[in-house]
């Protein structure tokens, strides 16, 4: 390094060159990983409980309102399962990508981790929007039904 004309050299294994995350980012992400993993595991536990619920419902004796109630319950639980599985997968991937980032320290891996994080929030946002839409439609139908029944 004493010679001023030393050619520039890449630093593939080292830290501190452009494209690597800072030690503080490294620390923050390492402290995020455990909690994200925990929440993902809890979501998977919910999925397993819902599956057990489906099995119990299917194997149970006839319900008071017949098979229609049983089918309704199973369909309801299956839909709820879908809402749990995707976020659980995405949070699990987020935690796994953070693990890769902690191994490499590369900004590219931070980007990959944040991509999973973004996918999780996009799903939550879209599902929330759908539920708000259903709620508004139900409100409008309910009010319209009440108005029509009061006129007749």
């Amino acid at each position: 390094m004493d010679r001023p004309y030393v050619p520039p050299a890449s630093n593939p294994g080292g830290r501190g060159f452009s494209g690597e995350v800072s030690p503080r980012v490294f620390d923050i992400m390492s402290r995020t990983k455990g909690w994200v993993r925990f929440i993902a595991v809890m979501l998977w536990v919910n999925v397993v409980v819902a599956i057990i619920n489906v099995i119990v419902t299917l194997s149970s004796a006839r319900l008071p309102n017949g098979d229609a109630q049983k089918v309704g319950q199973v369909v309801g639980i299956a839909i709820a399962l879908l809402f749990y599985i995707y976020p659980a997968v995405k949070l699990n991937s987020y935690a796994r990508r953070i693990g890769v980032l902690l191994q490499s320290g590369r900004a590219g891996d931070l980007e990959a981790a944040l991509n999973e994080h973004r996918a999780f929030w996009r799903f939550v946002g879209i599902v929330t929007l759908v539920f708000i839409g259903i709620f508004v439609v139900a409100m409008v139908v309910g009010v319209a039904g009440a108005v029509l029944s009061s006129r007749s």
Binding site: G19, I28, T32, A107, L114, H117, G125
Partner: protein, 157 residues
């Protein structure tokens, strides 16, 4: 920019779309991912704040309603009081979650404008804080559920 390959490199001080300099992990891709997350977290955060305010006011106005109840309905009032306290606690929790998500979105907004390493760290720290809060809440609810199940089983015998 690409028309002249011999053009001198330049810093992107406004930093909205592209980043000429990468430092501490502040790359174009990282900022882009956070930018695309920001809208959804802002949306969910606002919903949590609205829900929190509604629950909080429900608890307050419900409490004032109970205080006007006659002596004959005091038993029902105590039951409603417990429910309203739960509403109040849920309202505060919703507000905390909403403000945490809002803080993350605002930090990403600052990062988009500055491209500074400290703003990236701030944004990531805020999302860490959200996950820690969510995890602790989940742990508390899990413990309450386990205690309730044990209490239910014990009272059966």
């Amino acid at each position: 920019m690409a028309d002249n390959p011999y053009e001198a490199p330049s810093a992107n001080l406004s930093g909205n779309e592209t980043f000429g300099v990468e430092s501490g992990g502040v790359t174009q891709g990282v900022v882009d991912q956070l930018r695309r997350t920001k809208g959804w977290t802002r949306f969910i955060g606002v919903l949590f704040i609205i829900l929190g305010v509604v629950l909080f006011f429900l608890a307050i106005f419900g409490g004032s309603f109970i205080s006007t109840m006659s002596r004959s309905t005091r038993g029902l009032g105590a039951f409603l009081g417990i429910i309203l306290v739960i509403y109040g606690v849920m309202g505060v929790l919703n507000l905390v979650i909403g403000f945490k998500l809002g803080g993350f979105s605002s930090a990403v907004q600052r990062l988009m404008h500055s491209g500074q390493e400290r703003d990236l760290e701030d944004a990531l720290d805020r999302q860490r804080s959200f996950w820690v809060f969510g995890g602790v809440m989940m742990l508390i609810f899990l413990i309450i559920a386990i205690v309730a199940i044990i209490a239910g089983v014990v009272t059966q015998f």
